[in-house]
Structure formats: structure tokens, C-alpha cells
């Protein structure tokens, strides 16, 4: 599974890099695009199979965010979809706030 995770995450990053180098899209465009692709793969029922095959490597890419949102939207209801991604968002907000208070901007 470690090797499969390596290959899967690597391939996704490679695709993102190819898109970045050949278009004028920024990193922000590409991550947003990949979240939507993740939700679409969840819609097709593919992403859960990928996670089952690949392991945690499929959980760490941003596509997993879209898949989790979609799954929560159909299982818990559209208005409660954030429940399952709150771990990521809340921990990122807390660490961003603490880091911002502690550190200074490096020029």
C-alpha cells in the first residue's frame, strides 16, 4: 500500500504540474479544479474504490476533500456536508491563527 500511495499521489501531482506548466492557470485554479474533479469522481462512485485500493495516499490529496463533501451531502444532507471535512478546516484555521500571532512575515 505504501508503494501504491506513492504512485497515486505522485501521479496526481504530476498531472497538476503538467496543467500548471502548459496553461496559464494558477495553483489556486488547479486546486479548485481538483476539488471539483474529486467530487465528480465521488459522484461516479470511483473515488471510494481508489481509496480502498490505494490507501491513505488517496486521502491526502485535495481531491479527497471534494469526494468527502459529496459523500456527506448525499448521506447527511446538503446542508450538513461540512461535518465530515471540519477536522481539516478547523485544524487549518487554528494553526493558521496561532502561527500568524507567533511568527513575523519573512521578506
Amino acid at each position: 500500500m505504501i508503494f501504491k500511495s506513492f504512485i497515486f499521489t505522485g501521479l496526481i501531482c504530476l498531472i497538476a504540474q503538467i496543467i500548471k506548466d502548459h496553461t496559464c492557470l494558477t495553483s489556486g485554479h488547479i486546486t479548485s479544479l481538483f476539488v471539483s474533479i474529486g467530487a465528480f469522481l465521488g459522484f461516479l462512485g470511483i473515488y471510494d474504490k481508489i481509496i480502498a485500493k490505494v490507501g491513505y495516499g488517496a486521502n491526502v490529496v485535495i481531491m479527497s476533500f471534494g469526494n468527502t463533501l459529496y459523500k456527506a451531502a448525499i448521506e447527511e444532507g446538503v446542508l450538513k456536508m461540512l461535518g465530515s471535512v471540519s477536522v481539516g478546516i478547523v485544524s487549518a484555521v487554528i494553526i493558521a491563527f496561532i502561527v500568524t500571532l507567533v511568527f513575523k512575515v519573512k521578506d
Binding site: C13, S32, F43, N59, A73, I95
Partner: protein, 133 residues
Amino acid sequence: MSYQELVNKLTPKENIYKNGVIAFLSGGVIGAISEILGRCFGPEMMLVIWIVLAGILTGLGVFDSIVEHFKMGVIIPITGFSHSLTSASLEYKKEGLVTGIGANCFKLAGSVILYGIISATILAGIRGVLCLL
């Protein structure tokens, strides 16, 4: 020589093959470490570990040079999400707690959350319609 030709000539050419290999390898290493972390601590703690690590490295000013070296390999994993939040709030820190950090921390990461929610809503709607048919 026109201005545009001069600009094209003087802009350093990035080696796209090298970029691809680096993105593949660095992304792959993050995936492989995630597999180990996930087995030890579970999927949610694995994400939290990456988020905290990326946030602290951003605060130390290290993450920007990591992005420069490893490109999309560190942006597409969850580390990129954490980095975008922390770097946006650090950048606007001088404008104050509310109008600076508060107003700008989701400047980059907001797009991921917005389009994630919109995509999931539309697709869940489509699924709902398909189930009725």
C-alpha cells in the same frame, strides 16, 4: 527585436520535464508518508499532522522555498491548503486582527471550500433527480 521577443528571450525557461519528475517524486513521498501516518494514527490525525506541519513551516518562512523546489507536489496534498490559509493570514497580519487576518485568511483557501461545496451540491442534486427517474 520587438519587446515581446526580448521578454521571451530573457525569461528563464523552466524545464517542464524536470518539474514533472520533481512533482511526481515529492507528491509520491508525501503519499507514502501519509500511508505510514494513516496506519499509525488514523486518517484524520494524518491530515492534522500534515496541516500543523505545513502551517508551522509556513510561519518559519521555509514553506515558500519548499514550494519553489517541489512545485505542485506539495500544493495538491492537504499541505497546500494549510499553506494557503497560513500564508494569507501572515501576509495581512499588519492590517490588524479583523480587517487583516480575519478578512483575508480565506483569501486563497476559500476557493477550495467554495467550489467543493458548489460541486457537491450540484452533483448531489443531479443524483437526487436521477434517483427519482
